[in-house]
């Protein structure tokens, strides 16, 4: 019996009697981060990072029992040593290190290696077995530098202002929107938000993350196009009635999937910006190497492709099931 094993409710540690990112209610859930595909409602107890406590609380039912622990501090759960380490995905995202009888496992959750001022940076954690995500686990995914992407966004924003248009920048409301916000140059014009983005941004600010000022779209006088504003909104807001209040606008989508032209075109948006909160192919391979793990479980994404590649490199790798592996196009709607 391995230290962690897959069950119909997700990854389970029998020795410590806890689940990591279960997809159904369990007694004790350790949560890597607060995105919907990693959190199940109705668990008896949740454990997450101190940095991510408020974010998780905002996503769970009121009164949910959430315990938290600082990064790097080890807990003893029924003789199993558990510690959380920064994953760099969103505020409070963690890798979970589990050690028992001299054997160490790390579950990555979602993670990225590129710079993001809104959360603690990813750090490799040595282990024997590494459970890694693989959302962008193909060699076609190699991210441009975030600065180059922000330069493009700024140039686009300025051009839209020149054309009397508002700039509608679509991104996932938790994590992606705040990362975008932190990189935006507020001297160009006002930054407005969709309600769902504003709510999560408030949570970030309350947790002490410095972000440029924003205002909810409906709280400003004047239309976004006349103000030359940039509006942050979730992908689901695109081409809905809600966008009418912005006036004339150009829409862009910030996501790793935008690296692929066909996906960009299928969404019929004006611009795609390749910026992701997941590792690209080179960083994924670097991260795996840095753990020193000889055994790798691959999940969430191109699991079998990455596992096959790792096996060819001499590692003991296998793909494991998650419940959230639909069509790629579904994932595009909400890269989380």
């Amino acid at each position: 019996m391995t230290l962690l094993r897959t069950t119909d409710r997700g990854l389970y540690c029998a020795a410590g009697d806890f689940f990591i990112d279960p997809w159904a209610a369990v007694d004790r859930a350790i949560v890597t981060h607060a995105h919907g595909d990693h959190v199940a409602w109705g668990c008896h107890r949740y454990l997450t990072s101190a940095e991510g406590h408020a974010v998780l609380a905002s996503r769970l039912e009121p009164g949910a029992k959430i315990e938290s622990v600082a990064y790097g501090v080890a807990l003893d759960l029924a003789g199993v040593r558990v510690s959380l380490h920064p994953a760099g995905h969103i505020l409070g995202s963690s890798q979970i290190r589990v050690e028992h009888a001299g054997e160490a496992w790390v579950v990555s959750g979602d993670y990225k290696a590129s710079a993001d001022p809104t959360c603690t940076a990813f750090e490799p954690v040595p282990c024997h077995t590494f459970v890694t995500e693989s959302t962008f686990g193909l060699p076609i995914y190699r991210w441009p530098s975030p600065q180059a992407v922000f330069d493009d966004i700024h140039a686009w924003w300025r051009a839209n202002q020149g054309a009397g248009q508002a700039t509608l920048l679509l991104g996932y409301p938790l994590g992606k929107s705040q990362r975008l916000l932190a990189g935006l140059d507020e001297s160009i014009g006002p930054i407005l938000t969709h309600g769902s983005v504003e709510r999560m941004t408030e949570v970030y600010r309350a947790a002490g993350v410095a972000l440029p000022p924003t205002r909810h779209v409906s709280s400003v006088d004047g239309r976004a196009d006349r103000l030359g504003a940039l509006v942050l909104a979730p992908p689901s807001a695109d081409a809905t009635l809600w966008t009418r209040r912005l006036g004339v606008h150009s829409s862009g989508f910030a996501s790793g999937w935008m690296a692929i032209r066909g996906i960009r075109r299928r969404r019929s948006i004006d611009r795609g910006f390749t910026i992701s909160d997941h590792v690209d192919w080179p960083s994924l391979l670097d991260a795996i190497r840095a753990t020193g793990a000889e055994c790798v479980w691959v999940t969430h994404g191109y699991s079998s492709v990455v596992a096959r590649w790792l096996c060819e490199q001499g590692l003991d790798a296998s793909a494991i099931e998650t419940r959230f592996e639909g069509e790629r196009d579904d994932t595009v709607a909400a890269e989380v």
Partner: protein, 532 residues
Amino acid sequence: MRSFARLYATLDATTATNAKIAALVEYFRRAPPEDVVWAVHFLRGQRPKRLLGSAKLRAWAAEEAGIPDWLFEESYLAVGDLAETVTLLLPDTGASSDLPLAVWIERRLLALRGQDEAVQRQEVVRAWRELGRQERYVWNKLITGSFRVGASARMVERALAEVSGLSEGVIAHRLMGAWEPTPEFFTRLTAPDVRDTDTSRPYPFFLAYALDREPDELGDLVEWIAEWKWDGIRSQLVRRAGRTFLWSRGEELMNGRFPEIEQVAPMLPDGTVLDGELLPWMDEAPLPFAQLQRRIGRKTIGKKLLADVPIVLVAYDLLEEDGADLRGNPLSERRARLARLLERTASAGRLRLSPLIEAGSWDAVRIARGRARARGAEGVMLKRVSSAYGVGRRRGDWWKWKVAPLSVDAVLIYAQPGSGRRAGLFTDYTFGIWDGDALVPFAKAYSGLTDDEIRRVDAFVRRNTLEKFGPVRTVKPDLVFELAFEGIQESTRHRSGLAVRFPRMTRWRTDKNPRDADTIETVRGLLADRGE
């Protein structure tokens, strides 16, 4: 290459017509003429023939990227486009090339033809290393013969008109027919003297939109004429300087294919251009389209075929008479002149006037449309009597009102073997329509072809398989079929966003090339009023 790649990226990044035209104007102004002509050549949809097989490119790119073939294929599945897959897989070297487009095309690309494989490989890999990401993508599109861009011929013409100070009509006319992308051609294209001397050149075809409303809404019937919408090959017969030129709508010169027409064309006076439809004709009526297909694509035509399937030109417009361009004159006048001209031309019945449908009311037109199939026509054309002969597809003056069912021209993209009596034959097909420059799967159809046609498609599939996924073959997008269906609706379960009811193949359009297939925009247009 850098500025052409930038133009490509700009055209790709915007859906706004004016922004596209502005980008084209900017490029046409800045680039040297030898580059501009190549750009115009490609932007108007002409492409170099495929220079290299896809298998070679895959193998070279996988090796250059340092990945095994299976990982290349997984990557290709995620991207869905060979040129783009190669672009994304190769490392960015930070390189970029400011060598002019013409040099890249003439010395690097066309020079690949006929070289042995080792040289081709060395040259292609060298190009990949010298080019930046966007440039590499354009290069890959060119060497795979799949270059398409989101700018219509009309936008290119508008931009050239703006740059040259000439009218769009003059530019469009000069771009018709055969020309070589040389700086000399560019000089002729933009020459301020508009008395052109090229005797062969046809006029840009004026095209009708599908009627999207009740005809009654077009106003008083006296302002309109109704004609049959013939189901043949749209063509212009040009007779100038003692010579005859027969052009298809695809700007293809069809001389030699329809000798019976060329035989009588000299009866027309010099300086005459007719617009009409080539139709197989016997006993005062058209033969089925399938008969015409027997004549299409044959360079040499035997006596028996000439006797079995005689061709006539059913003319409905007169674009030039006595060397004068009549396109600006009202249709009523052009038609009257056409009727007089054909009356005094001894053409042995091979140049015929397309008759008007005599109808006293829109209801009578409706009834006529109901009889269209029986007449060998595919519907009714409605044209405003005062209309000029325009350029390209314009709304307002000319409408085509086809008989039901709904139909779409789509490209065969996947095939899989049938079962039962069709086991072992590729009989189950998936068809794509254009979404920008990609074909998206649109409908599956299994029925409508004759056994003989099935055997021919099956042979095509085996010879033109690009990939195999289990039983499914991805085939070279080359065959165009007319699909008919009973209803169309939006669907989130289909890649195209559209679902159709009872799709079936109604015709193998051997006369069309894949570029002529329908686009997602035109098909979506069917949703508004004919959908469920």
